[in-house]
């Protein structure tokens, strides 16, 4: 028997009526700070459609056939890099991988020269990760191709903020009105900044939690509440986003000892017991099990960590698709002007 279905059923939380009338006009995705609420919702609604593609037996659509996407990673990455590569492949784009190690960067080539030389091979999108804040924006001003920021220093990691918003919306049906705690090393975290912008714009209340050396009161000017005592808010939040303890910074004077950090700011079983019953636990990865998050919580039913990864693919497909539609139009306009 052929299964029946409701044709008008759309996944919970979509805001399709609100965003259906707008058109996407950005050629680059550099930060969430620069996006309007409608633009964020437009990406999330588009991602909803791309998530369906991953459920098919043939997980591929021809939308970016003939386009070339370069993964230009000047910093290490597993998840983001693979996620962008797979997203591009599912859209039928060709994917080139660039790694700083073993490239001409080690011979002293500058970022701009490297990027322009890659671009000269005829590429359409460059996905950039770099240790310097503003690197993606710099390339957007210099290159003709679309630039997607995949993390620039401690500034932003916009697709992470978008996929976290998508995952929360999928879980609760909305983001507005939720209380979201972001916990850990806020000051050094681009994930925290992109999340803060995304959550604030979508109407959530954001509480930043960490030692005063890692989250200063200055963050309150961005519209968040800053708290140094995790236990004081543990029972009232709907979402807890545990940031990674960045090992490379652990020895700095900003950081308490690992054991002290876990005791004060780790998501331990004891803390988890005092959370709301339907609390949603998130982590951008890679996790330090037993340090910022206890293993069985990360693997438990309240954890959205693997959904975050799955949704990241859909969000990156949406972003790749949207920015390439705009570059196509600009190319046409340029050609019309000739």
């Amino acid at each position: 028997m052929t299964p029946h279905m409701t044709p008008s059923a759309v996944a919970a939380g979509s805001n399709i009526d609100g965003t259906a009338r707008m058109k996407w006009t950005r050629k680059h995705l550099l930060s969430i700070e620069e996006l309007s609420v409608d633009e964020i919702n437009f990406i999330l609604d588009t991602a909803l459609s791309f998530k369906e593609v991953s459920t098919r037996s043939v997980k591929k659509v021809p939308a970016l056939r003939g386009k070339v996407v370069v993964n230009a990673f000047f910093e290490d990455s597993t998840r983001t890099r693979m996620s962008f590569a797979l997203a591009a492949q599912r859209l039928s784009a060709d994917v080139l991988e660039f790694t700083e190690k073993g490239s001409s960067v080690s011979k002293g080539e500058t970022l701009i020269d490297t990027a322009r030389n890659i671009e000269a091979m005829g590429i359409d999108v460059m996905v950039v990760r770099h240790a310097a804040a503003g690197a993606a924006e710099l390339l957007a001003r210099t290159c003709k191709c679309s630039i997607i920021n995949a993390g620039d220093g401690a500034h932003e990691h916009p697709t992470q903020g978008l996929l976290d918003a998508y995952t929360i919306r999928e879980r609760f049906g909305k983001v507005e009105g939720l209380k979201v705690a972001i916990v850990g090393d806020i000051v050094n975290s681009r994930v925290a900044r992109s999340n803060l912008w995304a959550m604030k714009k979508l109407g959530a209340e954001v509480i930043l939690v960490g030692p005063s050396t890692l989250v200063g009161k200055a963050f309150e000017s961005l519209g968040a509440t800053v708290v140094h005592d995790f236990d004081s808010i543990i029972g009232e939040v709907d979402v807890i986003n545990m940031l990674r303890v960045q090992n490379e910074r652990i020895k700095s004077s900003q950081f308490p000892t690992v054991r002290e950090f876990t005791r004060m700011y780790g998501l331990t079983w004891d803390r988890f017991q005092r959370c709301k019953k339907d609390v949603f636990i998130m982590h951008p990865g890679p996790m330090n099990r037993g340090i910022e998050i206890q293993s069985d919580i990360a693997d438990g039913p309240q954890s959205g960590i693997l959904q975050q990864v799955a949704n990241g693919l859909a969000v990156r497909m949406a972003v790749l698709f949207l920015v390439t539609q705009v570059s196509g139009e600009e190319t046409r306009r340029r050609e019309d002007a000739k």
């Binding site: 279905m5 259906a20 058109k23 098919r56 037996s57 021809p62 939308a63």
Partner: protein
């Protein structure tokens, strides 16, 4: 703007499509009715409801968004929202009626056929359209046509309205705003 088909005529045209489908496929066997977003989706709803009223008990429903399969993607520039395709149906071996509101160049249908190939292999695919306005650019034709409008000039556009989307049923021919 001229009204080509009023409410009664539009419904008669839909009824005609349903007659033709019922003449070809027995009600005791499964059949898939798949609409192309967005007006084709509404027309598919109507057709499926009428078939159900005639005793069809195994109607599979699907919706195709063909944006990602268009051959003119880079020409249309920033587009409207891509909406989800919904094809949670058994496609293999089951006859399928693909439904759209207006048949013009045939490029939408071509894109829909490409999309369908990723979901499986229907036993047969028939094309149902409310209006055929001529102007084909591809070797594609409809099997069930509600209204044959002949060859309309390229600067004219057929607008199909449904109560569900527009508050009224009907069809009009209007000047095209831009080519």
């Amino acid at each position: 703007m001229k009204t080509v088909y009023d409410e009664t005529e539009t419904n008669r045209a839909i009824e005609g499509i349903v007659d033709r489908i019922a003449g070809e496929f027995p009600s005791a066997e499964p059949i898939n009715i798949v609409g192309i977003r967005t007006r084709g989706e509404t027309l598919a709803d109507r057709i499926a409801a009428k078939l159900a009223g005639r005793g069809y008990g195994q109607i599979g429903r699907g919706i195709l968004d063909i944006t990602l399969y268009r051959d003119d993607l880079s020409e249309i520039g920033p587009g409207p929202l891509v909406r989800p395709t919904q094809m949670n149906i058994v496609v293999d071996g089951v006859p399928m009626v693909l439904v759209d509101d207006v048949l013009f160049t045939g490029r939408t249908v071509r894109a829909a056929l490409n999309a369908l190939a990723d979901f499986g292999r229907p036993r047969i695919i028939r094309l149902a359209v409310l209006a055929d306005r001529g102007g084909r650019e591809l070797p594609i034709h409809a099997d069930y046509v509600g209204a044959d409008l002949g060859q309309l000039p390229a600067h004219e556009k057929v607008c199909v309205k449904f109560t569900e989307n527009d508050g009224v049923d009907g069809m009009t021919v209007e000047p095209r705003h831009s080519l």
